[in-house]
């Protein structure tokens, strides 16, 4: 009994947070990265000679699709078909509509879960009986506790595996909210979770956890990404993480920087093993000159020229702790802080940008991440103007 749990493959997902300065050689790698990771996954499935492949949601990045992606999916699943490996596939919040859209017909080894919870059965060559229970999203949100629809483990099977695309939460939360307790009650042998891009274990035995995204998609999804190869030991299903992503995102925080040269050297000393997209954050107090060069992008440009070809510096940012912002100006400090807080507590994006700005921009700044970035930018602006 051996299978692979790979969630959030996000085929065709663009990398978020890159700009147009990315060299074309890397651009190609980036564009193909999710497809490359997927192909590697299929190759591993074949070489590992697994019994089946489980994909709990977000195989595609979006409902929109393209011939190349379709062709890849079709060909790769066909490879598994030739190898006699079945695929159990459910759709998540990203690809909920995938089966309704135009797409090539699935090879016969692909079993797609319907919108309501259903159980599929499989008997292995060894005679072991497997039940797989799952569901697919019907809209982008799945606010009901769909976990309640899952049956408890069927006694006649050797293993029961749950495919669940969602996040821990309470009824009403957007992504099929569940609790670990809910899952434990079902007595399943393994819960293959999807949706959360960071690999994490919610429960050890039986295993309930996220395999994480197959390929990091933005600078927050740092570290090696891959899939779980699950094997049975003494009838316990144990996942083992396998790296597969062709590109890795990483973050480097520099807390002490004396000058630009030092900064560059510190980055150049960064150790990496494969194509890496590195975000550099500087928390150190910097010389006015250095700040200016950073602000103008000169340092980044210089740095990008010096680093090896397979290391890409995504950005160079200076971050400040808000409270240290105006220490020297503490005469009016409280007024500044008060004003700052008021600004964000009453924050309405329409006060700043009309609907002439794209919706995603407006949405972004309404979100916490956007607000944080605004706060950082504002502090930098004040900092630079204060001098």
């Amino acid at each position: 009994m051996k299978f692979i749990h790979a969630a959030d493959i996000h085929l065709g997902n663009p990398f978020i947070g890159l700009d147009q300065t990315l060299p074309s050689r890397l651009k190609k790698v980036v564009q193909q990265s999710t497809l490359t990771a997927f192909k590697s996954l299929i190759s591993s499935s074949i070489t590992e000679n697994i019994d089946f492949l489980v994909i709990p949601g977000d195989l595609y990045n979006a409902t929109q699709n393209s011939p190349q992606i379709q062709e890849t999916v079709s060909q790769q699943f066909e490879r598994l078909n030739s190898a006699g490996i079945p695929v159990y596939l459910s759709f998540g919040n990203h690809d909920f509509e995938a089966n309704k859209q135009n797409h090539l017909s699935w090879p016969e080894n692909v079993y797609v879960f319907e919108q309501s919870v259903e159980t599929k059965y499989l008997t292995l060559k060894t005679g072991e009986k497997i039940a797989l229970t799952g569901f697919s999203y019907q809209t982008q949100r799945q606010t009901q506790k769909i976990i309640n629809d899952f049956p408890v483990k069927i006694q006649s099977v050797d293993y029961q595996i749950g495919l669940y695309h969602g996040a821990v939460g309470i009824d009403g939360d957007p992504y099929a909210p569940f609790s670990v307790g809910d899952m434990l009650k079902k007595n399943y042998d393994y819960w293959a979770l999807g949706h959360i891009h960071m690999r994490q274990t919610l429960n050890n035995q039986p295993f309930i956890g996220y395999s994480g995204v197959l390929q990091g998609l933005n600078r927050k999804e740092i570290g090696e990404k891959g899939y779980y190869l699950v094997t049975s030991k003494n009838h316990v299903l144990i996942p083992e993480f396998h790296v597969i992503s062709p590109i890795i995102w990483e973050e480097l925080i520099l807390s002490e920087v004396s000058d630009e040269l030092d900064l560059i050297n510190q980055v150049l000393n960064y150790k990496y093993t494969k194509t890496t997209f590195l975000s550099v954050k500087i928390t150190a107090d910097l010389d006015e000159n250095v700040i200016q060069r950073l602000e103008s992008g000169t340092t980044l440009e210089k740095l990008r020229e010096k680093v090896p070809r397979d290391l890409w510096i995504v950005n160079l940012t200076i971050t400040h702790e808000l409270l240290t912002l105006l220490t020297e100006d503490n005469i009016d400090q409280k007024y500044w802080l008060e004003s700052f807080e008021k600004l964000f507590s009453n924050f309405v994006i329409s006060d700043y940008i009309s609907n002439q700005a794209p919706t995603f921009v407006r949405d972004y700044f309404m979100g916490q991440e956007g607000k944080n970035s605004l706060q950082n930018k504002m502090q930098q602006l004040i900092q630079s103007r204060k001098v």
């Binding site: 065709g12 663009p14 990398f15 978020i16 947070g17 890159l18 700009d19 147009q20 990315l22 651009k27 980036v30 564009q31 193909q32 497809l35 929109q64 699709n65 393209s66 011939p67 190349q68 992606i69 379709q70 062709e71 859209q101 135009n102 797409h103 090539l104 220490t327 020297e328 100006d329 503490n330 005469i331 009016d332 400090q333 007024y335 500044w336 008060e338 004003s339 700052f340 008021k342 600004l343 994006i349 700043y352 940008i353 009309s354 002439q356 700005a357 794209p358 995603f360 921009v361 972004y364 700044f365 956007g370 970035s373 605004l374 930018k377 504002m378 602006l381 004040i382 103007r385 204060k386």
Partner: protein, 788 residues
């Protein structure tokens, strides 16, 4: 903090200069360019660091090359320190306690801590103001003035306000809220919108791709159907062609069938063989008979052989002739013997001729010469004794005698030589024989002629006989030949008789043989007749034909069977249905046409499929979706970043405004009191109150009228500004007390107002040291003035 003393080592126009200050109001007076501003800059420089050389700021390099910098003695709450900064670049700061001369470790930090929360900017904005600040007031728009005045309560408000204006301006250049905006962010947003539509449009490609894939599947099915049809048709055509091919065979089989139905009697091979054997026997006998008959005809008759040739009598005659001849020959031989005897005497030489008469005489006259000689001798002897001269004659006679003797001898010799040296006597004897010799020769000639004639005669007679017996004739030995011939003749005679007997016997034998053969021939002919009758034929030829017919029949039957075996039952059924070949071939042509059409259709379909597949491949390789999507994501990043900058700028503007307002509003109650007092005094009681309501600033006149800031005269506006600023520094002084630096602040004030101002400054200076820099100073009260 109060500044007690300044000692300049080198700073601008100042070098090695020392100033001592009073603790309250310190007036520093001097004409333009006398160094007031330099002194002011020096004080700030010592406290907050010398300006760095950038953006055209005056860094006050010492004009005479003195060591840059200097020191300042300050009193921080009764801690008196000497602060020294030397060197413009990397200036060195040292602070020593005046009380114990100890140097402070980390002087920068110590000084910053002492001055906190002030920095250069804050100090400038709170405690340092000049004519420039005032002169700005008259240039400000009403709203900005209002804002300025309102924000005086906040630290560094005017600087901040400039920043907000600047930011606002910058931000507005980036983005216009209205739909028709053409600023960078508007354009980028529009571009993004277009690109996202473009990406959405890519969905069409996906639809095309998916439907084409279906088409390909369908096409593949159609092709395989077509292929199946082609396969079936090919089989049918093949079957039909087989039928067509076997049709000929079948037809010939049918033909054979009609032939083999008629019965043909069998002819035994043995019969044929015996008939042939009989025929050979018959032929043999017939041949033998005719051969024997010929033999008999050819055999010679007995009579012929016996009477053929007899030379007996002839030969007898010849024998007699021969005896005559023999006699002649004998005659000849005897003559020749004589002749021989004669010639033998001359050995090999020819028989010499007869001696002539002279020769005979000589032979006989032997002594004539001797006589002569003897005579001569005699005469000579005689003469000699007598007549001597006669001796000569004698001699002559002797000589003659010798001559004679000699010539006779010569002649004799010659003859002897001719006669083979015979003696002269013999020669004389032989002379008769020589005379006979010629006779003999005549006889011999006659004999020879006779012999030859006789020989020829005999020869002529003998020749035909010798020819007959095939005997070689030897010319001379006729006798033996004749005897031989006679003998042969006899023998032949005998032989002929024997032969005749033998022939007769042989003929008898042949006749017997002929009879035997004839008997056998008769027998065989009858056998042959019987055989022919058996098959009702007249001769062998007919029988052979009959036999051939039978063999053909058997062969046809065999062939028919073979053909029938070759044709498969299925084909046979079909063949039986076929009415005629033409119809069948037409059917094949039709099928072939149909097949060809199907194949062509198949090729077309295949070509279409290839096209479709190629197009599909093209769709995949041309797929720009991922690129567009990534580009769009990159655009998003850019937009978020740029809009972030824009919003941040806008928010910072708001932030600053709000912070300043908050500070002012909070500080204002304290400030209000102080400022109202100053303003009241400066306007000689024309205005009695400053009201700060919400975001508005109003002034109350003596009789209670309300004035807005713009309604004030420029002078009054300046006075309000000064009042508020001084009030602010007084309020801030609760937090930190540092000297106030005023540079020619009140040039637009009339003398009364200036006096009032000085009074106010003197009051403030009791609590807070004030440096008042001015071009000229005169005042009633005693005030410390340093004249530069």
């Amino acid at each position: 903090m109060r500044i007690k003393q300044v000692e300049i080592s080198g700073f601008g126009r100042w070098s090695q200069k020392k100033f001592d200050f009073v603790n309250d109001l310190q007036v520093i007076a001097g004409q333009n360019e006398s160094g007031k501003s330099t002194l002011r800059a020096f004080i700030i420089g010592i406290l907050f660091g010398f300006p760095s050389k950038k953006s055209n700021i005056n860094v006050y390099d010492p004009k005479d090359g003195s060591h840059y910098g200097g020191s300042l003695i300050a009193d921080f709450n009764n801690t008196i320190v000497k602060i020294t900064r030397l060197g413009r670049i990397k200036s060195e700061l040292t602070i020593t306690y005046l009380s114990n001369q100890l140097t402070i470790v980390d002087p920068e930090k110590w000084l910053t801590d002492q001055l906190a929360p002030l920095n250069r900017d804050m100090f400038n904005s709170i405690f340092n103001f000049s004519q420039q600040d005032l002169s700005k007031i008259s240039q400000l728009k009403a709203i900005d003035l209002q804002k300025l005045l309102l924000n005086i309560g906040a630290v560094g408000s005017s600087g901040w306000l400039e920043i907000t204006a600047d930011l606002e301006k910058h931000a507005d250049k980036q983005f216009a809220q209205r739909a028709t905006g053409k600023r960078p962010l508007n354009i980028a947003a529009k571009q993004y919108k277009e690109n996202s539509h473009l990406l959405l449009a890519k969905n069409e490609e996906m639809i095309a791709y998916a439907s084409e894939k279906e088409n390909i599947v369908r096409q593949t099915q159609i092709i395989s159907q077509n292929y199946e049809e082609v396969r079936k048709l090919t089989r049918r055509v093949q079957t039909s062609q087989t039928v067509m091919q076997q049709y000929q065979l079948y037809q010939s089989a049918q033909l054979l069938k009609t032939k083999i139905t008629a019965s043909v009697p069998p002819v035994a091979d043995a019969d044929i063989a015996s008939l042939q054997r009989l025929k050979i026997g018959i032929d043999m006998h017939q041949n033998k008979i005719s051969e024997l008959n010929t033999l008999i005809e050819r055999t010679p008759q007995t009579i012929d052989i016996v009477e053929k040739y007899d030379a007996t009598s002839e030969l007898a005659k010849i024998q007699i002739a021969e005896r005559h001849l023999q006699e002649l020959i004998n005659q000849k031989s005897s003559i020749m013997a004589d002749e021989k005897r004669l010639s033998d005497r001359f050995l090999n030489k020819k028989v010499p001729e007869l001696l002539s008469s002279t020769e005979q005489k000589i032979l006989i006259n032997k002594s004539k010469s001797i006589i002569t000689i003897l005579v001569g001798i005699f005469i000579g002897i005689v003469a000699f004794f007598t007549v001597k001269p006669l001796v000569v004659v004698a001699l002559l006679i002797i000589a003659y005698g010798c001559y004679l003797f000699h010539s006779r001898r010569k002649l004799l010799n010659k003859i002897q030589k001719r006669y083979n040296m015979m003696s002269l006597a013999d020669i004389e004897l032989v002379q008769s024989n020589i005379k006979q010799f010629s006779d003999w020769q005549h006889q011999l000639v006659a004999l020879d002629a006779d012999i030859l004639e006789k020989q020829n005669k005999i020869m002529a007679q003998l020749l035909p006989i010798a020819d007959h017996f095939q005997v070689q004739l030897n010319d001379d030995v006729f006798e033996a030949v004749i005897i031989e011939l006679m003998h042969i003749n006899d023998q032949q005679h005998m032989q002929a008789q024997n032969n005749a007997v033998m022939i007769a016997q042989k003929n008898q034998q042949i006749l017997t043989e002929i009879k035997q053969h004839q008997e056998q021939l008769a027998q065989q002919l009858s056998d042959q007749q019987n055989m022919l009758q058996k098959y009702h034929v007249l001769n062998e030829q007919e029988l052979l034909t009959l036999k051939q017919n039978y063999v053909d029949h058997i062969r046809n039957k065999q062939r028919y069977d073979d053909i029938m075996q070759q044709i498969e039952p299925e084909t046979m059924n079909k063949l039986q249905e076929v009415s005629d070949e033409k119809e069948l071939s037409q059917q094949i042509v039709l099928l072939k046409n149909k097949l060809e059409q199907k194949q062509r259709t198949g090729l077309n379909l295949q070509a279409q499929l290839s096209d479709m597949q190629a197009q599909q491949k093209q769709r995949i390789s041309d797929d720009q979706f991922l690129t567009l999507q990534q580009n769009l994501a990159d655009e998003q990043t850019n937009l978020i970043d740029q809009f972030g900058d824009y919003i941040a700028e806008k928010m910072v503007v708001k932030w600053i405004d709000q912070a300043l307002q908050l500070a002012t509003q909070n500080r204002f109650p304290k400030m209000q009191h102080i400022a109202t007092d100053y303003f009241k005094r400066l306007t000689s009681g024309k205005y009695v109150a400053i009201q700060f309501v919400k975001d508005d600033l109003n002034l109350i006149g003596r009789s209670g009228q309300k004035y807005r800031v713009i309604e004030l005269s420029t002078g009054a506006q300046e006075q309000l500004y000064v009042a508020l600023r001084l009030a602010l520094s007084s309020v801030i002084a609760d937090i930190i007390t540092v000297p106030i630096l005023i540079d020619d602040g009140f040039v637009n004030f009339d003398s009364i107002r200036r006096q009032t101002m000085i009074d106010i400054l003197q009051e403030i200076a009791k609590k807070q040291q004030i440096f008042y820099f001015t071009t000229s100073f005169s005042h009633t009260t005693k005030i410390n003035v340093i004249n530069l």
